[in-house]
């Protein structure tokens, strides 16, 4: 009888060990999910102007996450979005709190009326002045 109790007891111990491992994995997954959900950037287009086919604009990172120009897209007057890093090569990152003057050369767009920016969930738009 004591051997039987030993077998069942060992099984219970094994199950508790597996449950602990599973709980640990769940906690790790939960923290990863929290991390995934907290990284949406916040950006704001301050102003935009066009001089001789060159577009000038000022953009501020108003959030806590860095904004990569490689993942930032501008749409002018509803046209197909263009990747910021293809036109703006001075910097690759817009840091939190930073405002940068961005110059877009060679877009082929003249007399635009509005520009919109989207970057990994962050969005902003402004009319040309």
């Amino acid at each position: 009888m004591s051997i039987s109790a030993l077998i069942v007891g060992t099984a219970f111990l094994g199950i508790f060990a597996l449950a602990s491992l599973s709980l640990n994995n769940t906690a790790i997954t939960a923290s990863e999910i929290l991390e995934e959900n907290s990284d949406e950037p916040e950006i704001r287009l301050i102003n935009a102007s066009e001089v001789g086919g060159v577009i000038h604009l000022n953009m501020t990172n108003t959030g806590d996450e860095t904004v990569s120009f490689n993942q930032t897209w501008f749409s002018i007057d509803g046209a197909s979005p263009i990747r910021a890093s293809d036109y703006h090569t001075q910097n690759t990152i817009l840091f939190p709190g930073e405002t940068q003057h961005i110059q877009l050369n060679g877009t082929g767009i003249t007399s635009p009326s509005r520009i919109f920016v989207a970057s990994m969930g962050g969005q902003s738009g402004v009319s040309f002045s």
């Binding site: 009888m1 051997i3 039987s4 109790a5 077998i7 069942v8 060992t10 099984a11 219970f12 094994g14 199950i15 597996l18 449950a19 599973s22 994995n25 769940t26 997954t29 990863e32 999910i33 995934e36 959900n37 949406e40 990569s68 490689n70 993942q71 897209w73 749409s75 007057d77 509803g78 197909s80 979005p81 990747r83 509005r114 919109f116 989207a118 990994m120 969930g121 969005q123 738009g125």
Partner: protein
């Protein structure tokens, strides 16, 4: 004495058999529970890594009624690669057909940060320039730990 020894041996064997069966049942039931927990956990993880958002200007969405052509630009804002063949679009509550999908950077995979151009035909719906419509986009990730993540979002856009 011999009879007592035999009955004790039978009791011992019976006890061992019962213990073995109980142990097997416990381990099997835990295994099933752990598997279903793992699957649910993987699904939540895949869903949390699957995201998308509008990359084009929602105030100026191109629409052509005669050719049934609505153009939307969607950015992969998650961390998993998205599939371009399993996209869902609902316009003003009506499921619409995605006629064509193209990645703007001419890459073959829709990785994080990339933008896809969607040509949509909301058949049976009459819309006009200046109208504001509700667009719901459903995206699906490529397989992650054997599971595909899903994400949907809705946004109001104005047609031009």
């Amino acid at each position: 004495m011999a009879d007592g020894g035999t009955s004790e041996l039978i009791m011992l064997i019976t006890g061992l058999l019962v213990a073995g069966i109980v142990t097997t049942l416990l381990v099997a039931s835990w295994g099933g529970l752990a598997n279903s927990m793992d699957a649910a956990q993987n699904q939540i993880e895949a869903d949390s890594k699957t995201k998308a958002s509008l990359a084009g200007d929602p105030m100026q969405v191109s629409w052509n009624q005669s050719s049934c052509h609505l153009t939307l630009y969607i950015q992969n804002t998650g961390t998993l690669e998205l599939t371009t063949v399993e996209l869902g679009v609902i316009i003003n509550g009506t499921a619409s057909t995605v006629n064509q999908t193209r990645l703007l950077s001419n890459t073959s995979v829709w990785i994080a940060g990339e933008v896809a151009e969607l040509y949509i035909c909301p058949a049976g719906i009459t819309m006009s320039t200046g109208q504001e419509i509700i667009v719901t986009i459903l995206v699906r990730s490529e397989h992650y730990k054997g599971i595909s993540g899903q994400y949907s979002f809705s946004e109001v856009v104005r047609l031009v």
